[in-house]
Assembly symmetry: C2
Homo-oligomer: 203 residues x 2
């Protein structure tokens, strides 16, 4: 993989993060060692410390990328700037976001744990600490209201309820505690129940 025969590597930082991200996706991030990463990239162990203060800093950066990736996935499912018109479309979007959230936790389990673990965005870039993915949920709920599925706009409590219900599903499905995964089927039921909880008129 290494192509540099000169002293300098050039773009160590990005390649290091790519490697860590790959490990995080595979779920082996906790076992990843800086020395092995340096070895794989054909670089000495100390070189890493020119780009990250310590291992935790690397993990924090990777967790941040995880949120970015999730946001990107959301964007392709439900483009933020192109609103939706019909009730059915709004429902489909909301379901799609929930499905993607669960799929993300199951397919990128290690990264998922990193994102919501101690290396999450505690005091990172975002001062509030609230990842921007939350904005998509708010938007989807707004659309459900504007298309008449929800008789009243979803307040903060409703938003948080919806988020944590989907989050709990995602976390339990990905966890080894629950391995019998009905996948999309259970997501659909879950979403139906969420909408009923916050007062939706069901089809």
């Amino acid at each position: 993989m290494q192509k540099r025969d000169t002293h300098h590597h050039g773009n160590l930082k990005s390649e290091l993060m790519a490697l860590a991200l790959q490990a995080a996706r595979a779920g082996t991030i906790e076992d990843m060692s800086l020395r092995k990463a340096a070895r794989d990239l054909g670089v000495s162990p100390g070189a890493i410390y020119r780009h990250f203060a310590d291992k935790d800093a690397l993990l924090r950066a990777v967790a941040q990328i995880g949120f970015d990736e999730l946001a990107t996935a959301f964007e392709t499912i439900a483009p933020f700037d192109t609103p939706v018109a019909t009730a059915q479309q709004a429902r489909k979007r909301f379901l799609g976001l929930a499905e993607e959230y669960v799929r993300f936790s199951m397919t990128h389990y290690g990264l998922w744990r990193l994102m919501f673990g101690p290396h999450g965005v505690g005091t990172s870039t975002d001062p509030i600490g609230r990842p921007s993915t939350y904005a998509w949920l708010q938007r989807a709920l707004d659309e459900l209201h504007h298309t008449g599925v929800l008789p009243a706009p979803a307040g903060p409590a409703d938003q948080f309820f919806a988020w944590s219900a989907i989050h709990g599903l995602a976390d339990l499905q990905a966890s080894p505690v629950i391995r019998t995964a009905p996948l999309t089927e259970s997501v659909e039921k879950q979403v139906t129940l969420i909408l009923r909880a916050i007062g939706a008129s069901l089809p």
Copy 2:
């Protein structure tokens, strides 16, 4: 702390688990080292391997204890064998269980992560992998039905929905992503919405 001046320690296994459990409660379990634990207990590093195959085995055992502790807490809140008669009592029990679940995740964060992480009860003692704490939730929902709060008995989908909604709340509250914790207040709202979702007649 060590009181044995003889060669044998006697009850190393239990003291080791107690130490690990203490670290897990404090959230420093991932940083815990076997060597330091051995040092604290006045024992050589190798001695641990007479009681646990490796570090992961220790962590698995600690995670199992976590579930036991949660079950114990549930038992004091809602004794399994003494059913409840009135709708108000049933509602109070359900709310109490939910609150305890969230409190557990927030006060024993490290242990919580261990329990639902890779060291959870995947292929551990319980063949199904379903911790017995799930039984309390089922029981509480049954009581809600028998006392008339729920018009119909809660099916598996409803049970799982209730669990994951509470689980998501617990996980998000404990996570560094969300640090603004309204605590019991939000639990009450959450429970109300859960009950509404599965068809409860609200007071």
